[in-house]
């Protein structure tokens, strides 16, 4: 349950974006969450609602999508989507492997309300 710490960093950056755009209120925040990230999205939403209260981000929608994990086999270099925690290569069966993508946690975009 480290989501509060993560969402605190998200809110800080979102408010920076708002501040550099005349303090406009925030409509939507979009996150890209890699499949290997250990986060519970509902906890992120809960934390966002709590930490954005009283700020330009209050009431904004927190949106996210999951980016798939892709692993590179260290033996035969095949890049594959892992089907279990053990990352067995579908070509040679070797386990383990290098993360190509799927461990990222990115604040992708901030949608601001148009000026009234």
């Amino acid at each position: 349950m480290h989501e509060l710490s993560l969402i605190g960093a998200v809110v800080d950056r979102v408010l920076e974006v708002s501040a550099t755009h005349e303090g406009r209120r925030v409509r939507r925040v979009t996150l890209r969450i890699g499949a290997l990230q250990q986060v519970v999205p509902d906890s992120l939403a809960f934390g966002f609602e709590a930490l954005s209260r009283g700020t330009a981000a209050e009431g904004a929608v927190l949106d996210w999508y999951e980016a798939p994990a892709r692993i590179e086999c260290l033996k035969c270099r095949t890049v594959f989507f892992p089907e279990s925690v053990f990352w067995a290569c579908p070509s040679c069966g070797e386990k383990g492997g290098r993360i190509v993508e799927g461990d990222e946690l990115i604040l992708e975009s901030v949608e601001l309300l148009d000026e009234e």
């Binding site: 349950m1 480290h2 710490s5 993560l6 960093a9 998200v10 800080d12 950056r13 974006v17 755009h21 996150l31 290997l36 990230q37 250990q38 260290l74 925690v85 053990f86 990352w87 070797e94 386990k95 383990g96 990222e104 946690l105 990115i106 604040l107 992708e108 975009s109 901030v110 949608e111 601001l112 148009d114």
Partner: protein
């Protein structure tokens, strides 16, 4: 209007972790991040190291717990410089906490910093603390399936310690199954089997710590 940001959420922590690494490097030190569930024996492993160090490895310790200074008091009794961080309910340490704790340690007089993370197999894994190497500790009282259930810790570990092996006759812990899980997740990783009560494996633990102090410094 939509503003593309593409901001790494962990950027601030990673920057501070980088700063911690540089500070340690400037002092000629290495650091380990000790991660496990509560009660697996992290503090006991540090005590064992402190007793065995005998002046030939100068340790400094940062203790992380939600509350109390109980662990720091244990380490202080071993005459090792120690700082206690209380997270007040926080489930993991972050780089900024470690950075502030470094201010309270005599870094110029130390060879190796041991950071004992908050007891938790999940959240600490996500936060780079500026360590040179990461150690995952599991005790025989916790079940041999822990690597499969908490794979990310084991995938990112530079060393795995199986502690409390003196309890093996009394628990249903399948060591071979545990080792197989670990090797599947992190092929080739060193696994030490230790008991702080009997002293089993502590020699190998010390050798690894000394190797880390000599060679674990991040370039």
């Amino acid at each position: 209007m939509k503003v593309d940001v593409i901001h790494k959420v962990m950027k601030m922590n990673d920057e501070v972790a980088g700063s911690v690494r540089r500070r340690l490097e400037e002092c000629g030190m290495a650091a380990i991040n000790l991660i496990s569930g509560p009660g697996s024996g992290k503090t006991s492993l540090i005590e064992s190291a402190a007793r065995a160090a005998n002046g030939c490895l100068r340790l400094g310790v940062i203790e992380g717990d939600p509350d109390t200074a109980l662990d720091a008091e244990r380490i202080a009794r071993c005459e090792v410089p120690v700082v206690q961080i209380n997270t007040g309910g926080g489930c993991h340490l972050e780089a900024n906490l470690v950075d502030r704790a470094l201010d309270r340690l005599p870094l110029a007089e130390l060879d190796l910093l041991i950071i004992e993370n908050v007891g938790n197999l999940v959240c600490p894994v996500e936060f780079d603390l500026g360590e040179s190497r990461r150690v995952a500790v599991v005790s025989t009282a916790e079940g041999h399936d822990k690597p499969a259930k908490y794979p990310k810790l084991f995938r990112t570990a530079d060393l795995v310690v199986l502690n409390k092996i003196d309890l093996l006759p009394h628990v249903d812990f399948d060591v071979d199954a545990f080792l197989a899980y670990v090797n599947d997740l992190r092929p080739g990783v060193t696994v030490l089997q230790t008991s702080c009560r009997t002293g089993a494996g502590i020699g190998a633990w010390m050798a690894w710590l000394k190797d880390t102090a000599r060679n674990g410094k991040v370039a």
